[in-house]
Amino acid sequence: MNTALFRRRALPALAALLTVTAAACDDDTPTGPRVPVVTAATQVLAFGTLDTNFGAGMAQTVTLTNTGGAAVMVGPLSVAGAAAADFVLTGDVQARSLAAGASMQVSVAFDPTATGTREAAVLAPTDDQATGTVTVGLTGTGARFTYAQVDRVGIPTLNTVFNHPPQFSKKDYNVASPMADVATYTGLFETVAGAVSNADPAATAALLLPDELPVNMGAATTSFATLTGRAPADDAVDVALSVVVGPSSLHSDNVGSNDRAFLTTFPYLAPPND
């Protein structure tokens, strides 16, 4: 590569020299002629493995720099190759004159349309005949991932209390589907609720299982207290206590509101504490 570059540079007819190897250019032209040298910061961009249904992943940046001594025309940039459709080029890809010392950047994101190895390249044509088009390789892998459930949450607080006895594995509960909740947990819930004087065990268990939060889209206001949803300001702990201890009793942990005011507009939750 170095040899080839040096040979080409020696030709006086060449107005420009283009390469993707910055080190070679620097080494070769300590006091060279005023020629443009366009270099790419990275020769191959690897995008890793992405689900074909995910959409485009994190974009990476292609940086082209004219490290030489004269202006050069670069562009328009494009993507070519077997999987060109899987790589999305964004930014100003139009042809422009790149002054000596100037850089240009575009972004490339990987959005695999099929599984397996996906390869293409960014092409940056220049008006320097000697080196022509600068290329940046693009490679990634398309996949179809499957996911294993780690945790779940439905009705606030209650099931944590009822599943407190350690012989009932919290992990089993967390990774389970609500489909099995009635069969798996009704006995436990009825046992616990059965000793609570004001609560009907079967009704309490039926209220809580499967562990899904009821949402009534027709309710004027949705709240956990009326089992029509759950708003951030709802006192879930007190509602849970009233269910556990009995419907006619009103018990409270005496913390009735959040430390920070909720917002009246999106995203409703208060900003983080500094």
Partner: protein, 247 residues
Amino acid sequence: MHHLTLSRFAPWMAALALAALVAVGTTLTLQGADHADSPDTTEGNLDANDLYVFSQGDNLVFALTVSPLLAPGSATSTAAFNPDGLYEFKLDRERDGVAEAVIQVAFSGTGSNQMVDVRGPVAVSDGGGTTSMLAAGPSVRGAVNTTVTGGGMSVFAGPRDDPFFIDLFGDRSVTSVLNAAFSAALGEQVGASGEQTLAFNPQATDDLAGLNVLAIVVELPKSAVASALGIGTGDVFYAWATTSVRR
């Protein structure tokens, strides 16, 4: 104002005694709410804390909090969603544990430069447990820690004040009450010595005050949810949220 008294709580103690009979000798860890209760993961960002679903005019708002007990400062500013994770709101028409529609949320990248992708609601038949990404549906993507709109929805994903409030720690807290009940039931002390009183503190404090979480908030029209579920915009459905990780 309303205190759990020993006599009032005695029946529950008895119930716990029954339920805990076989638990003697087992190490007990007691936690309030759903915070920090996912022993199968060390990834706080897969630890589901709280689910919120509420009306906002003609819209519905879904919110899920993860990553409990984030201290302000670097712990919060460096917190990120799991790029190998899948966060889902599952929507069930019949309350049979099988979701008829789902909203999926996934992330790419790391740290504060993460991108969030949201897709849904899309009709599915999914009991949960194992899942994969949907091929189609309304979708939007954008940066974390800012409001992103598109695909008929508004999305925010990033650090927030923990919206949950509870007297979780200390004497006469929820943990104290649970400890006391279990200690009595088991005949041995469960939990810390300073957290054994079976009553609530009239001057209780929110022990999650000043702490942050990572939150996912999605607002979208009721009509979109109703359409995906095949129900009316004034009907009832049932929701739960899951965190999952790539196999």
